[in-house]
Symmetry: C2
Subunit: 348 residues, 2 copies
DNA sequence: CTGAAAGCGCTAACAT
DNA sequence: ATGTTAGCGCTTTCAG
């Protein structure tokens, strides 16, 4: 570094006009070098690039966006809690970066904040919005549609048919886990849900209870009151204290399931010998040796890719896309092995 | 909804000019209603607001940013892996939302991508950058300083004195954990680091080894080769296979520590009876019953608040701020209780 | 291949 | 209290 090689005008940033003046070309030529380099003579381009480097010029994306009406920014509206959403967020960020898009993050803890959040989203004129939260109801989703803004609901069964959506196959996933339990001989099963008002919870419970009913097994529902570890822990503790334990507990989410398992074992109930446990999501921790949870692994990267496609290939807007992707059963040691193992299925 | 209440011009968005024409005032008046409502007569304001609502007008933040030279956007450059960074990210997002700032997320997996990422950051003319990654070296940090852009390094000891930074007190945190181990009677301690080249790893090890040395205890270093669960698992497995186990293993991070614990117990080594284990970070999972890890809890919300202050109160730029915040020892059941318990200290 | 000119939608003097 | 005006930095015709 030669000291004065960075921009000399302290504070103010360098513009294409500065570069143009320095080289002795027009501002438009400088702009072209950065937008359509092939439309500029190699010689001119080289001189412009040199001057830009010397002055420390970097194109202003804000100005570009104002003119081009595209920001290359995608907004993600995500609940601010939960292991699962954090992993989804990371996947989105990575996938968007590959497509030269940035992720503007809007997180919220209280569904009531959602209106404000969506107002902010609109202000920034993002190119699209990813709505990832179980707690947005269909009415709100419908209202969003008044904006001519590409949108995709991620893992929200309630969004089906209302806004474009991408989800894992909650119903079939739970059915498969249920069938596995039946195969292992479970005759009494309990279900621990997160929040009963969310469509995710409802869809998963429906899948589980119907598959079990098909085998003549009942499946009473207990609401944990949330999706966190402590909710699962509390729900399982109550079940132990109530005294009657089933052969298996199907839990609506992995983080809940970890709490369920710890609560059981803290009270001397052995998993899977006394009670089997299944989860849902396939968090990284599910494959940690400490839990080694039987669960339904969501193909997060695939879901995310599909969601981005729906968002960006918005052209064929004749129908409302509703993508459902199958998950994979992960057999861990929280369930016993079945006598007739279910053949592993692929998603696609 | 009356059907035609949303904006009628399909595709193009409604501008302040549209609203002005509809009400019969100037464009500037409309702008004022949204920027400085008190400077507009209540009557006019009401009419403008009504028209805005009817037409579906939302101010364009991009245009505002171009003019005002402030985007109200903070960029976060965060590694795309690891439980710890995900939790930090969530905390930043929430804290910035409270200050009416948005978070533009740039995640990267390979340090080599950093140059590209930083170029993107610059293009978006964000109001500040949070650099959160152990793997940015001092040289790169120094180069960043050529941009007249508020910046704060989060939990990167290497940044001290080079760029403004906010960190937990790694050294003192490890010392406290080490003293606790000494108090429990540990005479042989091993240290499992993440990646030896990072300043975080070095600082933590220095604190641990020096505090142990003060008590006459040696503390050989083993590199896990990463910060993930599997790295910790592998490192501990090797130690067990090598045959000589210490009284305690100090681990550089919680996620690593979970792996260490699971590897030990998988091989019949009891924690804490055979070997004690300590972590560092204070992830939510550390307090899960399954692990109940003794660790140093980082006050993430406090660290994040400080970082944002450093970023936004950039006025007094006479010195390079270097904030260090103390953490809290969390005593779990992965260490035995000490005969002389260390009085709990507060941070501040 | 390059330059001139007209905005994108808003803010912030300044004028009325 | 409201209107007028001049840009913010760039993209994009349209001429030359």
């Amino acid at each position: 570094m030669t000291g004065r090689s960075a921009q000399s005008r302290a504070g103010g940033s360098v513009t294409s006009i500065d570069v143009a003046a320095h080289v002795g070309v027009s501002q438009a030529t400088v702009a072209r070098v950065f937008a359509n380099p092939e439309k500029v003579a190699p010689d001119t381009r080289a001189r412009v690039e040199a001057a830009a480097a010397e002055l420390g010029y970097v194109p202003n994306a804000i100005a570009r966006s104002l003119k081009s009406q595209r920001t290359n920014i995608i907004a993600a509206v995500v609940p601010s809690v939960g292991e699962y959403w954090q992993s989804v967020l990371t996947a989105f960020s990575r996938a968007l970066a590959e497509r030269d898009r940035q992720l503007l993050l809007f997180s919220f803890s209280d569904p009531a904040q959602l209106e404000d959040v969506l107002a902010s989203v609109t202000q920034y004129r993002v190119d699209g919005v990813i709505l990832a939260s179980a707690s947005i109801d269909a009415g709100r989703l419908a209202r969003m549609q008044t904006q001519p803004l590409p949108i995709v609901a991620f893992n929200q069964p309630a969004a089906s048919g209302v806004v474009p959506s991408v989800s894992v196959d909650n119903d079939e996933g739970m059915r498969r886990l249920a069938r596995h339990l039946v195969d292992t001989g479970a005759a009494e099963v309990a279900y621990v849900g997160g929040t009963a008002t969310t469509s995710t919870d409802q869809t998963r419970y429906r899948g589980a209870s119907q598959a079990l009913a098909d085998a003549g097994v009942a499946c009473p529902y207990t609401e944990a009151g949330g999706w966190g570890y402590e909710h699962g822990y509390g729900a399982a503790r109550s079940m132990v204290e109530a005294g009657r334990l089933p052969d298996a507990i199907m839990v609506a989410g992995d983080e809940l399931a970890f709490g369920v398992i710890d609560a059981l074992e803290d009270r001397g109930v052995s998993v899977p010998d006394d009670v089997m446990v299944t989860g849902f999501d396939g968090l990284p921790q599910a494959s940690w040796a400490g839990y080694d949870l039987t669960t339904l692994t969501q193909p997060v990267d695939l879901l995310v890719d599909r969601a981005i496609e729906v968002l960006l290939d918005d052209a064929d807007a004749t129908t409302v896309p509703d993508v459902v992707v199958a998950g994979d059963v992960r057999l861990g040691r929280t369930t016993k092995s079945s006598s007739t193992p279910e053949p592993s299925e692929n998603h696609g």
